[in-house]
Amino acid sequence: MSRTLRINLQTRYSLQIMAIIFAGMISLSAFSVWHFSSAAHEYESVTMSAIESHLEEQLRERAEVMTEYLAQDLSNALLVYDLQAMLRQLGTATAQSDVLFAYVYGADGLIVHDGSPEITEFGRPLDELLGWEASILREPRAVLSGKDLEFVRPINLGAEALGGVAVGLSLKVVAAETAGLSSELRQLSGQSLRKEISYAATFTLLFVLAGALLALVTARRLAGPIRRLAGHARQVGRGQFGQQVDIRRNDEVGDLVSAFGNMQQSLEANQKEIAYLAYHDPLTGLQNRASMITALNELCADCRQKETMGAVLFIDLDDFKPVNDTLGHEAGDAVLRSTAKRLLACLESDLASGCIIGGEGLKSAARLGGDEFTVMLTNLGDEMRAASICDEILKELSRPFEVNGREIFIGASIGVSVFPQDGRDAESLLARADVAMYHAKRHGKHAHKFFEEHMLEETRAKLFLINDLRSALSSEGLTMHYQPIVAAASGRVIGAEALVRWQHPRRGLIKAAEFIEVAEKSGEIERLGQWALDKVCADLAGWRESGLDGLFVSINISSQQLMRADLHDYVTGALSRWGLGSRDLRIEASEDRFAKNAEGATSVLREWNAAGFEIWIDNFGSGAGSLTSLLGVPARGIKLDPSFIKGITTNERLRTFVSSIIKMAHSLQLEVCAVGVTSAALADWLKENGCRYLQGQFLGPELNAENFIGHLRFKPGGGNDENPRSLKAI
């Protein structure tokens, strides 16, 4: 969460809605106050003008009444010039604050009395005093003059005009009263305005409060589900899927909740799948390595507790790789699936009953990867029980696999480690079973081996050997030796078989078979093959330069390499680099390779053949291969295994057998080369029985390139078909 101030949705919406309501109410209140105030102004001015006119009217009426009384009282006084009566009457009138003047005037329009004891205005013309022709009036009249109201009432005696009375009333009083009223009104309207403002403020406050409540409710309604959803999302994030969010809303929030629900479901499904994948092998449905390690540790704990024997079976399919390489991964996968099924079938058979975890095959079997499987066994009375289960498994796996209508033979090797003597935890048990399996493989495959301490040493040695091989490859620790191949008829050297030799700094010379196996296992075989090819080509080219033409070199290529599509390009490239051709190189491939994967190998060999390379089947007769298996192979010939011909001179039946093999090969139009010819008698016999090429210590030792060329130069006619070296000369 950010450390900066976080305003949540609810607060934000609440504040926004409140702000809107507040602004609205303020505007409304301001408008109503303004409206009230202007209305009050208008009302005041209208009222004031009405009051003013009313007061004026009142004043006029007062003047009228006053003059009427004066006229009544003074008519006689005027007649007799009773100034005293006039003084009394007018004095009463002028004593009033708003009466500016009160005059009695005579028929001549001159002032008779002005209400003052001295009658200061006596004799002055009324018209002059008033500023208008008042004395000639016959009827009463009111005149507004500035701020004053002048009222003149003539006094008549019958038809005779005696004069009259004139009073002046000040509008000042009216004005003052009006002003007083106005200020009172203003005060009132001010009070009302204040009241209005306080009402407005109260209403605003109330509305804002109500609005705040509403906003809170609304925002809560909006943000509440989102918050719950967020909480739920956090739970889901922690992997607690639990229940779905229970919010039923028919709006966007509802959509969100529903979408979230869907997402949760799909997440949960994915999670389950991931969990499944994390602990299971997707191809076979068996447990994977991680799951198996856990199960094995549990098994250890269980066995420890029950004080029973447990075992781990490390199963590795034999020669599975060629299946993948030649028939494709789908075929390989099919084999693996079938393997898993067979394993499960074995485990769930009566044989294994009581020994498997939880009584379920699926809990006991696992696939570690590639063609490696494990089986965990528990409650074993003795090792024999495990052995018999191993045998059963081996038996099951030796049955052919049917893939795409084709039968494939594979088999397996099993290493067994036993709890507690071989290890007390998953790691050590598994490592030891692996070692044992490796030994099983090395000792003929299709078998099981219980772990023994010395195996660990051998494995360790093998491990060191791999490292040494790697450094040998980088530091020219390997050497290439050549053993001459002689044409039996002429006895001349026509070529040589290239043989890789490794002079180990501590162990001395190590046999090719040993380190090639190591190289194949460790993946260094490729580098080794390339090194050998380059070396052979270089030596061949060197020989050419030395004038030795027409010699070929026969090179062993591991079946693993042979299947590689890019090998062909690499070989062609190397040859052309050294100015050599396909005829300068012969390919030797082990007979047993073809037997295992005849179909795939055959098609690859055809390609080599088509490119002009001669293919020879090496070590013929040493393995399970049969002539029939060679029927479709586009080979130039076969090389008889040394073990095959070793006893020919002494063993009559063997002689017959080899002789018939040679014949059969011929009938298949295959040439025959005998390897391991150790004596002249043997050479002779072979020659007589149709063996065209010979190779062996008797015919020429393994020599490095330089010595090889020297050896040939020493023998006159070496390397020339036209001048073959006599067998006898050797």
Binding site: L79, V80, Y81, D82, L83, Q84, L87, E118, I119, F122
Partner: protein, 316 residues
């Protein structure tokens, strides 16, 4: 103690009954040794205020008369001098207060006796003065001939009887004008009643009349002759002194009663119990016997009354 307002009402009602219902009630007193009732009287057109001013003195005197068997001193106001003359002749009133001229008239026509001088408003005597505008060129009374003069009203001693007598004694013929507007007739002293002292002063000042007459007391009053006016006026004649007011007794009133009233009034100013009553009674300072000047003045008045018919005062 009497309840004053009730007494007034009773008195007025009683007087009215006497006036209208019983034309001659004198018999009741003529046939008895001493009357139980004494009636005090005066002339006025405003009887109510006069009664209230007379009442305290009436009560005071009533107490003094009680030993004589007089039970009540009532007040009866006459509207004018003529009515007063009838009241006296009819024996309906016993004790009258009046000014000098009216007193002389009541004496002559109704046989009332002038008993005492009343120091009305604290004044024992006063004079009549005649004034003109300074710029009128009039210096003496004989210049009033052909001109107009404002007299006060027909019942006024100083404002009418005195100047009239003066002009008559000078042999100047008098003519009455109806109105101040009326033109003066040559060969006469044209007189017009102003109706009030203020009018008289103003009329002269404003040139409506050539001269006017006031008592010396009124002449001194600023509300009647404001200073600003007085500075334009001048007095060309001043009469000899006249008694300010007089107390009269009906001549055929029982002498014992006459004596008690006279003695009571003469001594009243020395009696603290009477001071309020005296004050209420026209601010009277005291009562005393007529001095020589008063007697002389009355003589002059009696002399003028003797010259031909005398109009009844109070009926102009």
């Amino acid at each position: 103690m009497h309840n004053a307002p009730r007494c007034i009402v009773v008195s007025v009602v009683f007087a009215t009954m006497l006036l209208f219902v019983t034309p001659d009630p004198a018999w009741s007193r003529q046939n008895s040794e001493l009357p139980e009732l004494v009636v005090m009287s005066a002339v006025s057109d405003n009887p109510q205020s006069l009664i209230s001013s007379m009442r305290p003195l009436a009560d005071y005197v009533e107490k003094k008369l009680a030993p004589l068997g007089v039970k009540n001193v009532e007040i009866l106001i006459a509207e004018n001098t003529e009515q007063m003359i009838r009241f006296i002749r009819d024996g309906r009133v016993d004790w009258i207060t009046e000014t000098a001229y009216s007193a002389a008239l009541l004496e002559k026509r109704a046989g009332a006796e002038i008993a005492l001088r009343k120091w009305k408003q604290g004044v024992a005597s006063y004079r009549s003065i005649l004034f003109v505008r300074k710029d009128s060129g009039i210096e003496s009374l004989d210049q009033i001939i052909d001109r107009s003069v404002a007299f006060q009203h027909p019942g006024s001693t100083t404002g009418y009887f005195v100047p009239r007598s003066v002009f008559q004694n000078l042999g100047m013929p008098l003519k009455s004008l109806r109105s101040v507007r009326e033109k003066a007739m040559p060969g006469f002293v044209n007189y017009v009643f102003s109706g009030g002292e203020y009018n008289s002063a103003q009329w002269v000042h404003k040139g409506l009349v050539s001269a006017a007459v006031l008592s010396n007391l009124d002449w001194q009053r600023d509300d009647i002759v404001p200073a600003s006016i007085k500075q334009d006026l001048k007095v060309i004649y001043t009469s000899p002194p006249l008694p300010r007011a007089l107390e009269l007794l009906r001549s055929d009133l029982d002498p014992r009663i006459k004596a008690v009233i006279t003695e009571t009034l003469l001594a009243a100013h020395e009696d603290p119990q009477a001071s309020e009553a005296l004050h209420a009674y026209h601010g009277t300072f005291r009562f005393d016997r007529l001095d020589s000047a008063s007697i002389q003045a009355l003589g002059e008045i009696r002399k003028s009354l003797g010259n031909g018919p005398v109009p009844a005062a109070g009926a102009p």
